[in-house]
Symmetry: D2
Subunit: 343 residues, 4 copies
């Protein structure tokens, strides 16, 4: 148990109560294993309906790193590489999972966590023959590692480039919910889905116990994927655990409601920080905030609140990261702002 | 929802209610991620205490195939191989997960699902130089794929051989609970643990939603394992989900109680089948039964009961597999025996 | 330098003089690297012409294990497996190279080193879902590890089965030359080539310093292979070394002449052994002989001759392996027979 | 055959005549396979003597990419990474071979092709926990991809840092010979060898047909390496081919004589270019030159001479790469300078 109130991340609590309730209600119902249960099958249909693609293939896995390594290594030949931001989760925070599956990551310098066609094209142009890897996929995150959001125009440009250059576009949606429900968002779920080849819908960071729903827009991209899931240790015996969660989340818009709450809490927190006279290293766009605070303010806040110091800027101040979630209490946001103002 | 009563496996239901209750009670408590939560830390201590090894390193992962590939590939160098029964789960039912991590499996012919020193020694003797792999580990399951149980003498002989020949002994305990609580069992958990280098304690098939607790008896065997967990996509953000389950299971002996129930139901079922005049392909020892039934009896039973036909013996009869679990209702066992007798 | 005359293998000497001469003559000619030299390009054309397939893709690599792991892992997806004899080189003598590339080998019991459709079909029938690997290729050697040779009818049956069941047929031709020129042979090189998807033509064991020519009958199977060659460390900077050798070997039938010599020497040796009253564990068909000799005869012969004792049969006798090659001197064969008769 | 005189690389010709002669002289001598031949054993002793380390373990392999992937993946655990220059051969020109063996490369920005402790230390400091790879090796090339040479002080600083931080230091010596014999060199072979854990001595680019001699200074680092060589397809049946070459090269200083010639030819060429009024993108230090030439001069020179245009600087001029080797004829250098002066 932690004595501080934590703004460290969006996975500090368990699951939304609707999920726990549905788990409990259905608990003793006998179901087939390995994802063939009623709940998984129905949840996949619900997702297909909500992205507007009846032909999509949907698979549930346990986490983001697992989803990333499965999709990338499933779709690439061994000498093919994936292009990503130098701040991308697969580059920085997955202990070399992609390389361990045999693939090089070609890096593009980020701007606010995002990459663009100019950067991607430089990588493509630099890879000219079989003495080098062959870039065959673009990976990006929506929202990004830095909480920023690709807008429609940005994603369309990347999508068009990928299609013209025979590159798969794979979008890491561990935090997709906050991206789609941000006040900056100009894309609905089906509009977003249509722009890429494969993406996933994260539940772990938006109210689930665990779970990401991988969506292949074209069934042929998913050929053989069940074999691969099993081989990589990603096929859960009680697949119902994943199916039930997505069933609850995609019923009556719960998934989006939870993200709206996370964004609303973050916005309130951001406004309070700005009102207290502090700036931000990155413009707040979703549930992650990167304010710049004096070191002594950070020390004082840490008596009550837990959060990461992201980057020390100088001897006086640092960028910190504050994350809100589906479970963030408005009273805790108020306390934080209050504490900031009474310093 | 299934209309038949299922004896197909031991993972058809959700989790024991104590687990769901503890998940619900602790749900909104904020905890660190990735296994550093209070529940995981405490559950590891509980396991260390109950195996009588305060120095053991314990890691929770999501399933058996994941546990197998992690342990085997973590401990072996690329040219080292693992020795297993030709019926072993890693050989037959893991879609080549071990080979996909780079390691050959050297096969030993099984007897009732078990291997012995004679078979292991033949493999060792046959591998003489660097044009062949170097066997460096023995893998076995307790209980086995066929529901049989290694007794103390058998395990000690294998354990001694492994220690004398510099082979790691790794025991797959996906169904360890029914092995330790079987009426045939002559080993306690600490006595069992002491005989091998690394093993795991399965929760998925004994009342958990998911989860296997990997135990390294020597901490040095676990060096670097957290890196490896993350790299293979096996490190869960909400590690509490695993910790809470093992906490509930290892509190007040629940883990063993659940297995005793599974064994008791299986014994009752076996006695009923024998009383009805049918034999068994393998002597019942734990929660898996392999009776030999006439094909028309199988067809008739299938109207009410779901189970696997394991192997057709001839045009008249087949071996079937019946599995009982922590969740098997005595009334369902009675119904099955009743149906068998009224044919 | 060895004092005994060696019948241990077919790679004890250097290269045929034509090869050394061509290397020397062309030595200071400047050529492009990595297989784009004049000699490699011409040698590939010569091979295409002699197998009668102008569309074949030909790649030169340094050895048999390298050829096997490259072809198998290039053509299979990670969850696909290769079917092979339990005596197959990839199973027994490549230190797990195929598994190290991620693939399981499904074994078929051999008869005289050969497999057949009955054995292959059992493997196919046993693999039914995504909890198991998916067999997608058949690997066999011509001639086999035991010196036996598949005849036309045998290969056609396997080839037809593979085509009907969507399995690639890959033939290891490390010792292809002696198979095609054996007195038992009923297949020409083009007839042989047409029966499989990919095979290789071994030079290392038939007069070259090193080198196997991998032939893909369908160019689409070779897509991306140059990338893969480079990635696996198999692309030689001075590719001319391989091209020049195959150029010399496929000029004026030298390749076949060398193998005829090896077979003729083996036949003479076999006849001498039989005449001396000894039998064979396997009927001699190519350049490898497996006579059964008394242990004391073996000891006496070893004073003058080096060869492997293959398998001790009992306290009296053993199977030994005698190998003849392009470089075997008739005088040495005569000496061996002489020594045998004067025991 | 090429009509232009090539300065494209140092592997355009075959081998030095001493090598071809020794191959021919020893050709019909029967020898054990797989590196146990007389010549390989002697050549290893010669190398051990010349580096002054009787305990070193020496292995011969066929090329640089193969040597790099073997050493790096042999010495690293799967979650360990290797630090290299962003211009490093393993990063840029090996088609992701290192990643295909499972390892991430952490990049350090180069200066003239070289890295230093400041860059290495930044990588170390940035890798703090098991969500990231664990850097465990430093890789550098002597001479570098850009022809520059680490001097004693630079190498000592890196070596000391590695030893203090438990990092293996692995030096790619594909072009070691020109580095040791350059007029800039201040390190002898034994002095150089002592500074690292493992390095290799390249023959492919210094007069051999193929071959790199991997040297492990500590035998324990080589434990199991023969298994690994075989598994990766790197163990040559006729190992004599490699042993004989290194025998010839390390007899009477031939290896160093050839490199001195390459350096002398490069220096003469560099002086001619400078005298003709052209500058260099990098100061010439070994056998690779990077002069800056007007585009029309390049076009004119290309009628007679082949070389790579390395980088176009603007619409007027480009950096080209000119490489001299053991086989470069002084007359060709004169012709080049002549052609440059008569433009």
């Amino acid at each position: 148990m932690q004595s501080q109130i934590s703004f460290k991340n969006d996975y500090s609590e368990g699951a939304h109560l609707e999920i726990l309730n549905l788990l409990t209600q259905t608990n003793l119902q006998q179901e087939p294993g390995y994802g063939d249960d009623t709940w998984s099958l129905e949840a996949k249909d619900m997702i297909r309906a909500q992205i507007g693609n009846p032909d999509a293939e949907v698979y549930f896995v346990s986490g983001g790193t697992q989803a990333n390594l499965l999709v990338i290594s499933h779709l690439l030949k061994s000498y093919e590489s994936v292009i990503a931001a130098d701040t991308g989760h697969i580059q920085v925070h997955e202990t070399g999972a992609i390389e361990n599956c045999g693939h090089k990551i070609n890096l593009v310098p980020h701007a606010m966590g995002k990459i663009d066609v100019t950067g991607i094209d430089k990588v493509i142009k630099a890879h000219t023959d079989h003495h080098m890897v062959k870039p065959a996929m673009v990976y990006l995150s929506q929202s990004t590692e830095l909480g920023s959001i690709y807008n429609r125009a940005e994603l369309e440009e990347i999508s068009n480039y990928c299609r013209a250059n025979n590159l798969k576009l794979f979008i890491d949606g561990a935090r997709l919910a906050v991206a789609l429900t941000s006040s900056e968002a100009d894309l609905t779920l089906p509009e977003f889905a249509e722009l890429c080849d494969v993406f996933y819908i994260g539940a772990t960071k938006n109210g689930g116990l665990l779970g990401e729903a991988i969506v292949f827009n074209n069934a042929c991209d998913a050929a053989g994927f069940p074999y691969y899931l099993k081989q990589k240790g990603a096929l859960m015996a009680k697949g119902r655990l994943l199916g039930i969660q997505f069933h609850a989340l995609f019923h009556d818009g719960l998934y989006f409601e939870l993200a709206k709450h996370a964004n609303a809490m973050a916005r309130k927190l951001a406004e309070g920080i700005a009102a207290a006279g502090y700036g931000f290293a990155l413009t707040p766009e979703s549930n992650q905030l990167f304010p710049i605070l004096p070191l002594q303010v950070i020390t004082a806040l840490n008596e009550q609140f837990a959060f990461y110091t992201w980057e020390k800027l100088d001897d006086e101040k640092a960028v910190v990261r504050l994350v809100c979630s589906w479970a963030t209490k408005e009273a805790d946001v108020d306390s934080f702002i209050d504490a900031l103002n009474h310093r």
